[in-house]
Amino acid sequence: MSGDPILCVDRLSMRFGGIVAVNDLSFDAERRKITALIGPNGAGKTTVFNCITGFYKPTSGAIGLTHDDGRAIRLERLNDFRIAKLAKVARTFQNIRLFPGMTALENLMVAQHNALMRASGLTFLGLIGAPSWHHAEQAAIDLARIWLDRIGLLDRADDAAGNLPYGDQRRLEIARAMCTQPALLCLDEPAAGLNARESAALSELLLSIRADQGTSILLIEHDMSVVMQISDHVVVMDHGIKIAEGTPRQIRDDPKVIAAYLGADEEEAIAVMESGT
């Protein structure tokens, strides 16, 4: 693969005791593109995500991230929160992890923690109510307002996140990740549990994030209509290894992919074949 990759996964392996979840996996994610990671259940997709976002430490292999300014970071050497803070990698979770007892607005404010922490002079300036802190806080609220508007939740900004409908919670989690101003956005099954209309709105949101923010997106998805519609590049995994990669069109016609899906789950294979037609 040529071009300008933002993320280079090189010979990544992850073992849990005797189980090899990811075996010698290599792929690139292009800058300002949407890369999809697909595969049957248990293929190791979420494990790859957890390695990239620092929740697991890979057994072996390298994960390189190159920022727009050419700054290169080895993600496998950073741990948990530093990947989000320093490498600017944001993620969402397969089972939504919002702060349910906080409002939608507060969720987006927590996401801007590191920027606000600096602005509040590590809390001390904020405690005495310095004007610079008030400006920063207002700017953070404005950014949150922009994102709430984009996901159509401006009217429910002051509602508890746990009270929002499921589809809204999914979008709010994406907005929260975007409020960290990430270079790479990792989405773990963002369309899971959404109906057709909500999925279409999600595709639109992701395309607009790529176009307007220039954020590179890496997503795991089972909803093939979303994958085929928005992905620029698709990587297919099965049993911890990469079995194919290419454009959505190439993937759709790849016999190995069809076999993997047929072998694993008939319905999903049919979905793969039908979604492009």
């Binding site: 976002t53 620092g54 929740f55 948990d80 929160f81 530093r82 990947i83 989000a84 803070k85 944001a90 993620r91 979770f93 992890r97 919002l98 702060f99 349910p100 007892g101 906080m102 409002t103 607005l105 507060e106 404010m109 927590v110 996401a111 801007q112 923690h113 590191n114 606000l116 922490m117 509040s120 809390t123 904020g126 405690l127 609220i141 307002r145 709430l148 401006l154 900004a157 002051d158 509602d159 508890a160 746990g162 009270n163 929260r176 990740a177 960290t180």
Partner: protein
């Protein structure tokens, strides 16, 4: 006895199957009571003068007890029927609702004004003033622990350790180096915060029960060190002769350079009590102000986010280690300040004042108040400490009545007196978040 006679007709008035059920339940309860009490109350045994067994029967007392259980059971069932299912949604008229919310908004300012006026209203009642100081001390401790338990969701059973560190810091600095209260106060706070960080490090990885056990142990370690390090702390004898606070260097004594003499008024020991009252009031309000401010700052929001979901916090780039440590340090700081005040008020401290009982009491105040709610904690401290004094006339039944009141309160309000969370920031209007959604934290 009277209740059991009047209760059955009342049961008849409710629905027929219900009446039979109530009666059956009451009979079963009465039977269980009869079996249990027949030996405990019905027969009284004692050792006679030659060591032989002497016993006599008290069947009238037994009858009274069984009848009371029978009547009580019916009464409880009737109350339950009248109240309806526990989780039923009660429709409250909007007018009542708005009146309630107005009252809710006025509670805090009214309490504050009243608190300021306490020394004026009860100037001649030493007992009330002492009680008020005690209540305010626990309000401050509750607000301090609220940062750790209520906001950050870290269960701390050893909070008294920081109270002790603050108290001994002031006591030892003042008696050994002659430093004044106002210099020692911040030092005591800083030292306690330092110990808070020290405790924080080993427990960072622990959650829930494990965290509770280690913090509990920490509290005991501090107390045992205080008992056994005799050369420094005086061991079980404690530290005596701790100096009283001065007003800008002017002592509140009957001496010629005392405040009363300078003002040309007659000396009264109440002056010092009133002075102490306003010191602890100022310290408690400082705690409250800082906590309210912190909640609106990124640090406080990160504490609450940590309570809600630690994994999500890490995914957002929040350093959970420093966030937890700052919560421990902030809570400990306020505990230390309260401890220094305690030392100067008592004039004498010993390790006996810093037992687990204190930690449990402060934790109970936070839980009862509604975790995270400032007003709730203040009300809970008033209820716990004030209520405890209120029941003093009941002598040995005090603990029993008090415990029952606690149980009833927790049934009625399982998430504390103030069971909802107020958002820290809002776009249009701030609406309270129901406690069902707010997490309690798990470590």
């Amino acid at each position: 006895m009277g209740r059991s006679v009047s209760a059955p007709p009342a049961a008849q008035t409710s629905r027929a199957p219900g009446a039979a059920f109530i009666l059956k339940k009451a009979l079963i309860s009465a039977f269980v009571a009869l079996v249990l009490f027949s030996l405990m109350i019905g027969v009284r045994t004692e050792a006679g003068p030659q060591g032989q067994l002497v016993y006599w029967t008290r069947f009238d007392d037994l009858a009274v007890m069984v009848a009371a259980v029978f009547g009580g059971s019916i009464l409880v069932e009737l109350l339950r029927r009248w109240w309806g299912p526990v989780d039923a949604v009660r429709v409250v008229p909007p007018s009542v609702q708005s009146a309630l919310s107005l009252a809710g908004r006025l509670v805090a300012p009214a309490l504050l004004v009243f608190t300021f006026l306490v020394p004026v209203l009860f100037y001649n009642e030493r007992y009330i003033l002492d009680l008020a100081i005690l209540v305010l001390t626990y309000v401050m401790l509750g607000w301090g622990l609220n940062v750790v338990v209520g906001l950050a969701g870290l269960l701390d059973l050893g909070y008294v350790a920081f109270y002790a560190v603050g108290a001994y810091s002031y006591a030892l600095l003042a008696t050994n180096f002659g430093l004044s209260f106002w210099i020692c106060l911040p030092l005591a706070g800083i030292l306690a915060a330092f110990w808070g960080v020290l405790l924080g490090f080993p427990v960072l990885r622990l959650r829930g029960d494990y965290l509770a056990i280690v913090t509990l142990a920490f509290g005991e370690i501090i107390r045992l060190v205080l008992i056994n390090w005799q050369t420094l702390t005086g061991g079980p004898n404690g530290v005596t002769g701790i100096p009283r606070p001065t007003l800008f260097g002017i002592p509140l004594t009957p001496a010629d350079d005392g405040l009363a003499a300078l003002l040309g008024i007659e000396f009264s020991p109440t002056h010092r009590i009133v002075f102490l009252f306003y010191i602890i009031l100022a310290l408690a309000l400082l705690t409250n102000w800082v906590t309210i401010r912190l909640r609106r700052l990124p640090l406080g929001r990160a504490w609450e986010a940590l309570r809600e979901d630690e994994v999500a916090c890490r995914a957002l780039g929040i350093n959970t280690t420093t966030t937890k440590l700052t919560a421990f340090a902030t809570g400990a700081l306020f505990g230390g300040l309260a401890g220094a005040f305690f030392a100067t008020r008592q004039g004498f401290i010993s390790p006996e004042s810093f037992t687990f009982h204190e930690s449990a009491l402060v934790l109970a105040i936070v839980v009862l108040g509604g975790m995270g709610s400032q007003l709730g904690v203040a009300l809970a401290a008033l209820t716990m400490i004030g209520g405890f004094e209120l029941f003093r006339g009941l002598d040995q039944y005090r603990m029993l009545v008090f415990g029952m009141a606690m149980v009833l309160l927790m049934i009625w309000r399982p998430r504390g007196l103030v069971g909802h969370r107020a958002p820290t920031v809002f776009l249009k209007h701030s609406q309270a978040i129901s406690s069902d959604l707010v997490k309690e934290g798990h470590g």
